[in-house]
Amino acid sequence: MSDTAMSPANGVATSRINWRLIVPVAVIALMVLLPFVVGTQSYLLGIAVRAMLFIALGQAWNVVAGIGGQLSLGHGVFFGVGAYGTAILFNSLGLTPWVGGVLGAVASIAVAGLMGAATFRLRGVYFALATVAISLCLEKLARHFIGITGGDAGLAVRFIGDSLSAAQSRSPLPFFFASLVMVVAYYVLTRRLLRSNFGYQLQAVRDDEEAAAASGVPVFRTKMWGLILSAGMTALTGALYVQFYLAIDPGAAFGLGQAIQIQLPSLIGGLGTAGGPVIGGAIMILVSEVTNWLSARTAIHGLDILAYGAILLIVVMFVPGGLLGRTRRGA
């Protein structure tokens, strides 16, 4: 990715402070301080990990769907392959998740390649439908091959206690920092992507495929690399997810609910923006904590889904581009 920044200030203000970075830097600083404020065993850290895993999935999906305009409903596939792959390799071969996660990502990228080759000749809604079909197939497979996947009940990662090499910990603290690093890395990557040639290719394809081709953009290849990058990011997040929860099941991995949840942070926060999935994901987790608390009190289940739906509806009606609209793409 060559740096192709084209903002008017480019090259002029390099030595001065970039004020636009104040908010992200402040947020990161506050997050780093959080464990010292709330305590390293606090349940709040667990919530933060949940939020950041969720945000990271949103960031990964945003690359191909938000920036590249390819509305995948099949990201559960990449997530599931990353999570199951890491867990299976550890349980059956004792392979460290540090390697297992990377292999999961590689497998996921291979799946993305096949998926792209099969579906990128299709456009719009057909692409989305094809991706749904593929994830439903994998869900069936995961339920069927009980010996490998644990079937409907899912898979529990063999717990061996605190261990760096097994990437396991009783405390949420290591996961807090791991997921924070992941979210920050994905954020930085998205920002850079938006200003790179590849990012512009993705955006051109999203806006108008034929005009993109007429401008020299290799459309198929652009979609393919976008999906591959996004799949790799999703799978790595799946690997971290399964280390934190120590469990994965077919619904959580490949279910339609998961596929839809992956999209919500970007849709609410701002499709195709770097900050959108972060803000959107944070809002959703805050809301879900409140609704879970309410659900527990009122014995009404599914309030979180209801709230997500309501938020999405409000956003779509009043701020269609998401909270960070198009023009603040770089935010």
Binding site: Q201, A211, G216
Partner: protein, 246 residues
């Protein structure tokens, strides 16, 4: 083949279902020419552009660009080889600024030592778009949107430019300005141009040669004067039998 032949269309046909939009069309364009492509609505002008640019594959026939048969080459590669086009209905990247719209094409077509950033700036100056560099297409007038599309088309070593109804929908003044810009591309940058345009007097003032399509067939090809007095052309433009262009 002639060294200075930029484009050759050889026996091209294009069928949509039962409709023959192009039927055995042949034509040739030399380096430096400005050729007008005319014909009644539905004659196949835009379809011919689609086939030349590679957006559609011809049902039969060959497209030779800069001496190479590109009939099976993708549209993005034809663009990088130096062939650009605009669309009858302007198509821009709506979520990107004027400058970004133009820069995308410049980036795709640049070779390693090209100063594509500088080129984007100079093209925006040429088209008087510099003050709109950070604007989004939706905020702009049709004339400016057309200029952005032309800017996007000419950056990155464009040698052959296909303009589909470059002037339609513009006011007289806007059209005049754009004609000037387009001609300067030809005279100053040496870009070869094929232009579709319905306002014939304007076209006659721009083009050295006219190619006339009717029902997917080339019915005339020659200097504007000859073409204007061609009988087939007069019949094709019913209602103006006395001379198609007056």
């Amino acid at each position: 083949m002639a060294q200075d032949e930029v484009l050759r269309v050889e026996g091209v046909s294009k069928v949509f279902g039962g409709l023959k939009a192009l039927s055995n069309v042949s034509m040739s364009v030399k380096r430096g020419e400005v050729v007008g492509l005319i014909g009644p609505n539905g004659a196949g002008k835009s379809t011919l552009f689609e086939v030349i640019s590679g957006n559609m594959r011809a049902t039969a026939g060959r497209i030779v660009l800069f001496g190479d048969d590109v009939s099976t080459v993708s549209p993005d590669r034809r663009r990088r080889a130096g062939m650009s086009r605009t669309f009858q209905k302007v198509r821009l990247f709506e979520s990107l600024t004027t400058q970004e719209n133009i820069a995308i094409a410049a980036m795709q077509c640049a070779r390693s030592n090209d100063d594509w950033r500088g080129e984007v700036q100079s093209v925006m100056e040429r088209l008087k778009l510099t003050r709109l560099a950070q604007s989004y297409p939706a905020e702009l007038t049709l004339a400016d949107r057309k200029k952005i599309e032309i800017g996007r088309a000419i950056v990155g070593r464009c040698r052959l430019l296909l303009l589909d109804e470059a002037l339609s929908g513009l006011t007289m003044d806007e059209a005049d300005e754009l004609v000037g810009v387009v001609l300067s591309l030809n005279t100053e940058l040496g870009v070869t141009i094929v232009v579709v345009e319905h306002v014939l007097p304007v076209l006659v003032s721009m083009a050295q040669r006219l190619v006339v399509l009717n029902f997917g067939e080339v019915i005339a090809d020659g200097a504007p004067r000859e073409v204007a007095s061609n009988e087939k052309v007069m019949t094709a433009y019913l209602g103006s039998k006395r001379g198609a262009f007056s």
